[in-house]
């Protein structure tokens, strides 16, 4: 869906902001660009919607070299979410959301319908907020309007630059959770930029860890943890290693090591696709039932810990 081929970009004579970057993002995948600030994440993102032109190399979206399209045409097919939202202060919430569909000259009724659908999905009551000004909303609400605006024209590709970066920690967690659950996002090709490792592990199908304009490692969260490509990657993940493992590891990954117990009467269930982190939170109060491939197991904290220890060896 998106392909970068030996892309270079520098802003001055010193070092390259982006240095020989090649990567591919598959259809429907969420790729996270991770790295400390100044490592070239934003620059990479801005080259994809041609807010910046690379010095050399090629970028393809949907199989087409992006320079073949007029920048405006390209951008209208790519949703763009910014850290500080960039909502138009002189447009109401619904007008903000309607910007790209209006640029694409959708008819009014369709736009209106789409705006209401999105506001509902993002838990922004249209009755209450459609005619509100962005300044009247909380930070979390503004960020959701920004997301709705990017999604409005149903773009196949989304670029998100630290979308949760400006939110306070609590709001960030709740907005992130909604984000994961949002069906509008589930089949989209997304490149998401963050400097927050935890966020990367929570949201990314794959993570591209960058440093000084180059890729250090590109792989699934588990691959980064288990087989770090170099010292940098290992060191980058070390401080939160345990937590990241719990977030990266799914119950199904541990299935073989979970003890066989079965007793009727447990009704609360967990999906095997959920992470160990979520399982830990759930089993604190009581053991729970998990079903995976026709098989049911009862999960409690001691069983979970043993399975994790066994998996590690």
């Amino acid at each position: 869906m998106i392909k970068l081929d030996h892309v270079f970009k520098n802003f001055g004579p010193q070092k390259n902001a982006v240095n020989d970057l090649s990567l591919e993002v598959a259809d429907g995948e969420t790729l996270v660009l991770l790295g400390t600030s100044g490592c070239g994440k934003t620059t990479t993102l801005r080259m994809i919607n041609r807010l910046l032109e690379p010095d050399s190399g090629h970028i393809y979206v949907n199989g087409k070299e992006i320079r073949q399209l007029a920048p405006e045409t390209l951008r209208r097919t790519i949703g763009y979410v910014l850290q500080n939202t960039g909502l138009f202060p002189h447009y109401t919430v619904s007008e903000n959301i309607a910007i790209v569909p209006s640029l694409l000259q959708w008819d009014k009724a369709t736009i209106q319908q789409r705006v209401i659908t999105l506001m509902d999905k993002l838990r922004l009551s249209p009755a209450e907020y459609a005619n509100a000004w962005p300044q009247q909303l909380s930070g979390g609400q503004q960020q959701r309007v920004g997301l709705a605006r990017a999604l409005a024209a149903d773009p196949p590709v989304m670029l998100m630059d630290e979308p949760f970066g400006a939110l306070d920690p609590l709001t960030r967690i709740s907005v992130r959770r909604e984000f994961k659950a949002l069906d509008e996002l589930s089949n989209r090709t997304i490149i998401l930029v963050t400097h927050d490792v935890e966020e990367a592990f929570e949201l990314g199908s794959r993570i591209c860890l960058m440093n000084e304009g180059t890729i250090q490692q590109l792989g699934t969260p588990l691959e980064l943890l288990r087989r770090p490509a170099n010292e940098f990657v290992a060191a980058f993940l070390a401080p939160q290693r345990l937590q990241l493992e719990l977030k990266a590891l799914k119950i199904k990954d541990l299935w073989a090591w979970l003890p066989h117990q079965h007793s009727p009467g447990y009704t609360t269930t967990l999906s095997a696709d959920q992470t160990c982190w979520e399982a830990m939170e759930a089993v604190i109060s009581q053991p729970i039932l998990v079903q995976y491939a026709q098989e049911q197991k009862i999960l409690d904290s001691s069983g979970l810990m043993q399975a994790i220890a066994a998996w590690k060896n």
Partner: protein, 523 residues
């Protein structure tokens, strides 16, 4: 005793004129601001895209604004003549800076993230400009328009100097005539206009930004309507056009007298005497009110029309001094009187012409004149005291002061110094009575009307006879101020109507009555 006229009386009498001037004033202001918006906003947008040019453009507009307004109006005359055209252009140049600068800073001030989002969503540059940059910069741009409008209401008063009308006609007429009511009748409405427009525009500026989107289209319309006021008053139109100074317009021995005594009614403009002569020469005006010995009468080939019904009092020049000075310096009066009767109107005009138009040094002109009259003597010892000679800032003053200095030095043993440029009548006369100068040349007419404030009935009875005026003035000065008038120098620097010599000859007009007949026949 006449009862004193109040401001209210004045406003009532002149309400038609006041309305006309106010409309003209409003029109001048808004036409120029409208033009400045039409040019300044695009210029501001342009330099917000080409930042390298911003210094240059803002610098140019800044320089325009530092040129003193009256000078800027002056520069316009050779290019555009007199009347509304140069006034509008000058006002336009004044309005330019606040509008360009505010458009530029307004656009610069738009949140960069908003621009980034707009571009990232696929807006073209045009859409970005109209949907994002201009609406968000609008409050700042409107603040610029507001500043420009208020500046222009003020500067537009000066338009009266170049015959473009407006409330300046009353203001400058009032100043020149020392008529407070007239001055206030111009100044108060001008101030009210400034406050009113400022207030209206501030309402616009603070209106909900949502509505300003529609305002963008409405505003030019409102301005256009206000601008059209300028065209309203200009309905009367004759063949001959007169340009009179603000002072002349309001004086009994001026336009009022021309109307009541001669019955002369013609289309008139108010104009500054600095540009009046040239405007007549360039055929922008047909008749002007001038001062008969001004050098420019000769320079621009004009003729003075005879005042056959004597509405202009004589203005014979003579040196005046305190009685005490004459006693202290007995040799002074004979030396000064050597000039008596030596300079007639045409000689004074010639001397003024050399100074005003040929830009020769007044001292050189004075020396040449004395030599030609065989009055130039080598300077005496200069040991018996110093005589301080004063003069007003205009025309004759400088030359006469230089002549007197040379006469005193040549024919006495006193030293002499000149203190020229002492402003108007009031200042130089106060300097004389307070012993800061010893003598200066004054005009009989000025002594009669300004310094003595002679009652109307006396003025009327003597005004036609120059000798009677001189006698009355010298007696009254002696009695009232203990100041002595020496013998007149000879020339009469009076108010006069003038026209181009070629026209006067073609139509056989040699006096004001003939002009009146001519005008009445043609209209």
């Amino acid at each position: 005793m006449e009862t004193k006229e109040t401001l209210f009386d004045f406003l009532q009498q002149q309400s038609g004129k006041l309305l006309e001037q106010t409309l003209t004033h409003t029109g001048l202001t808004f036409i120029s601001v409208l033009l400045a918006v039409a040019i300044g906003v695009p210029a501001g947008i342009f330099i917000s895209r080409r930042k390298k040019l911003s210094g240059l453009v803002l610098g140019f507009a800044g320089v325009m604004q530092t040129i003193p307004s009256i000078a800027l109006l002056g520069f316009m005359i050779p290019l555009l003549g007199i009347g509304p055209k140069p006034a509008i252009v000058a006002l336009f140049l004044y309005a330019l800076l606040p509008i360009i600068r505010n458009t530029y800073t307004g656009i610069q001030g738009v949140d960069a993230t908003v621009i980034e989002a707009a571009t990232g969503m696929g807006m073209s540059r045009r859409q970005l400009l109209y949907k994002v940059q201009l609406p968000l910069a609008m409050p700042v741009i409107l603040a610029g328009v507001r500043t420009a409008t208020v500046i222009n209401v003020g500067v537009a008063t000066l338009a009266a100097y170049i015959a473009a009308g407006g409330l300046g006609e009353f203001i400058f007429g009032g100043i020149a005539l020392n008529n407070t009511n007239m001055m206030l009748a111009g100044a108060i409405p001008a101030a009210l206009l400034a406050i009113l427009f400022d207030w209206l525009l501030s309402l616009l500026q603070h209106i909900n930004i949502r509505k300003t989107r529609k305002m963008v289209y409405l505003l030019p319309l409102i301005f256009l309507v206000l601008s059209s006021f300028y065209l309203l008053p200009d309905t009367y139109r004759g063949k001959m056009l007169a340009g009179f100074t603000p002072e002349f317009m309001g004086r009994k021995d001026g336009y009022l007298g021309l109307r009541s005594v001669y019955g002369l009614h013609m289309r008139t403009l108010v104009i500054s005497d600095m540009i009046m002569y040239k405007a007549a020469y360039e055929k922008k005006l047909d008749v002007i009110s001038g001062s008969s010995t001004d050098g420019r009468v000769k320079a621009f080939d004009l003729v003075v029309l005879e005042d056959d019904k004597h509405i202009f009092p004589p203005y014979y020049a003579a040196p005046i001094l305190r009685n005490a000075t004459l006693t202290k310096y007995p040799a002074l009066a004979p030396a000064l009187n050597r000039l008596a009767g030596r300079i007639n109107d045409s000689i004074m005009t010639e001397l003024n012409y050399r100074v005003d138009y040929l830009k020769q040094n007044p001292e050189t002109v004075a020396r040449d004149f004395l030599r030609s009259q065989h009055l130039l003597q080598p300077a005496g010892s200069g040991t018996e005291g110093t005589i301080r000679i004063g003069s007003k800032i205009f025309g004759d003053g400088y030359i006469l002061a230089s002549i007197y200095k040379m006469l005193i030095e040549g024919y006495t043993n006193y030293a002499a110094v000149t203190k020229t440029g002492l402003g108007g009548t009031k200042i130089v006369f106060d300097a004389l009575t307070n012993d800061q100068i010893d003598l200066y040349p004054e005009y009989t007419g000025t002594g009669l009307l300004v310094l003595l404030e002679t009652p109307q009935h006396i003025t009327d009875s003597i005004i036609g006879d120059k000798q009677k005026v001189y006698n009355y003035v010298s007696q009254a000065f002696k009695k009232e101020f203990d100041i002595v008038w020496l013998t007149p120098i000879g020339f009469n620097n009076t108010y006069a109507l003038m026209m181009r010599k070629t026209d006067a000859e073609k139509w056989h007009i040699n006096n004001i009555s003939a002009l009146t007949d001519f005008v009445n026949k043609r209209q």
